[in-house]
């Protein structure tokens, strides 16, 4: 990295600099350890000291889990149609291009086909960075198409979830995406095609209450927040502090709602192993 290149980036865009604060060093939010970017990447974006799992996007998951260059993306340019002409403090039709510009994504999920250890797979991976990973029509439709592809081609399905829930700006249409994805999963299940659901931090609301919880095998990343209602709402409802570890991946494992909690560095191996059993 040269001195000149850096200064050029700084001139390029003021906002971009704000949104991507990655210098060469990152501080672990959990233990405060200062980690070099290279080292963090080498360590699958987990803390070298305390194992905290940093939030990463679909691009990183695809790179970590799939065989190099095996991923072929579909419907990469599908975007929201703003069916309700929704306005809160901002217009939804302005929010969408802002999010697209900020994240270089078109919505909160990416789907395509690829291989893990040469075994074929249909993959959908969510991006929390795109409006909180919220599920509107586009997420529902793309997950739906991934399921349909898995169903038609009898190829196992992997969905990597990261979401705050259904997207408010599309109203009841967002809610119906829960029914849409679950209905298609019913058909996939009847056809005997395997579905692995990977839950990452955070997976809450309508995504949890539909496809995320319907995997034949459900894997969670360590420490991931997983639940139906958010912790703030629950705390408000019951008027008490929540116990430590509540709604974390390990808590769900304890209560029987996920099959395993797997460190990010072992995910690829675990998925490959599972595919030898439920890969059809």
């Amino acid at each position: 990295m040269t001195w000149f290149k850096r200064s050029k980036e700084n001139i390029a865009s003021e906002t971009q600099k704000k949104d991507v604060p990655d210098g060469l060093w990152t501080k672990c939010e959990q233990c405060g350890e200062i980690i070099h970017k290279m080292e963090l990447e080498k360590n699958f974006f987990t803390c070298v000291k305390c194992n905290a799992h940093f939030r990463i996007g679909s691009k990183e998951y695809i790179a970590i889990l799939l065989d190099t260059d095996s991923f072929k993306e579909n419907d990469g340019r599908m975007r929201s149609g703003d069916p309700l002409k929704f306005v809160d403090t901002k217009r939804y039709r302005d929010r969408i291009p802002e999010a697209i510009k900020k994240t270089k994504l078109h919505d909160a999920v990416r789907w395509g086909t690829g291989t893990v250890n040469k075994l074929p797979l249909v993959v959908a991976a969510m991006d929390f960075s795109f409006i909180g990973g919220s599920m509107g029509s586009v997420v529902g439709e793309k997950i739906g198409r991934a399921i349909d592809r898995a169903w038609k081609s009898k190829t196992p399905l992997l969905v990597i979830s990261a979401s705050g829930g259904a997207r408010m700006m599309e109203g009841a249409l967002s809610l119906m995406q829960m029914a849409k994805t679950s209905a298609k999963l019913a058909r996939l299940s009847e056809a005997g095609v395997g579905f692995i659901s990977l839950l990452t931090d955070p997976t809450t609301g309508g995504v949890t209450a539909s496809y995320a919880m319907l995997g034949d095998v459900i894997i969670a990343e360590p420490g991931a927040l997983i639940g139906f209602a958010g912790p703030r709402v629950i705390k408000q409802t019951i008027g008490k502090d929540l116990p430590p570890g509540f709604q974390r991946a390990e808590f769900l494992l304890d209560h029987g709602f996920v099959d395993m909690v797997v460190h990010r560095k072992d995910l690829r191996q675990t998925i490959a192993q599972l595919l030898t059993y439920i890969g059809g």
Binding site: D88, R167, A172, L173, A179, K184, A229, I238, H255
Partner: protein
Amino acid sequence: MAKTVLEFEKPILELEQKMEEMRRYADNPDIALEIAKIEKRVGQLQLTIYAGLTRWQKVQLARHPDRPYTLDYIGMITKDFVELHGDRYYRDDKAIVGGLATIEDRKVMLIGHQKGRDTKSNVYRNFGMPNPEGYRKALRLMKLAEKFKLPVVTLLDTPGAYPGLEAEERGQAEAIARNLMEMSRLRVPIVVAIIGEGASGGALGIGVGDRILMMENSWYSVISPESCSSILWRSWDYKEQAAEALQLTAPDLKKQGIIDEIMPEPLGGAHRNPEQAARVLKDTIVQELKQLAKIKPEKLLERRIEKFSAMGVWVG
């Protein structure tokens, strides 16, 4: 006259009270004439007020404390109701009721959210907010219906699935998700009717079906206007705007292609004339059941999946 009066109904109430007072002197022909005039005005006022309700006002009607609930409708539209209890895993959730019922000679499995009418019954019913065991009870009854080839009728009326600590421990999300998947492949007809509040996953958890009906003054959305206001406006004060933005009324949902039919309510809401509301509900359900009975299970399931697959709006 309803016991509870909403803010926008007050002009009507005032006139009605005036009329009542005048009736005491009704033997005076002048006053009798005056009463007739006021009566006409009340009628006109009702028409204008109820025809021009905002979305937030409709939400208030959907939540009206005198509005008929599931058990009220069961009493009015079915006979020989046999309530069945429990999910067989944990406990009986009082926020969801269900059982075998006969609607005009048609035997069905009827399941619905149940609210309470006063503090005591509301605590008993948990304000109509189910825990996971409620959804699991509903699923058990639906499986029973499938086994005995009975169509399923569900009535939706909930402010949401309960956001509690134990609900999370027992898998609220899993319970709802499971129902969505199982209802998608249940081999008997399912008719869904939204009779009051249809709040998010808590409503949808018993809301997947072949025909979706909605009462005129009910609402159905991904979130309540209040919660939407608190998240997007970071204040509880924008519920009216949130209700408008969410487009959560029956005509809105018809336009969005989410519901099939709107069931008209008596002027001023179902609570003004529960029998009339029940009659419309019953007739509509029977109509739908008749149609659905003709369709073979394979076709029914195919259409059900296609129905929900078609929902959504996107570009590219």
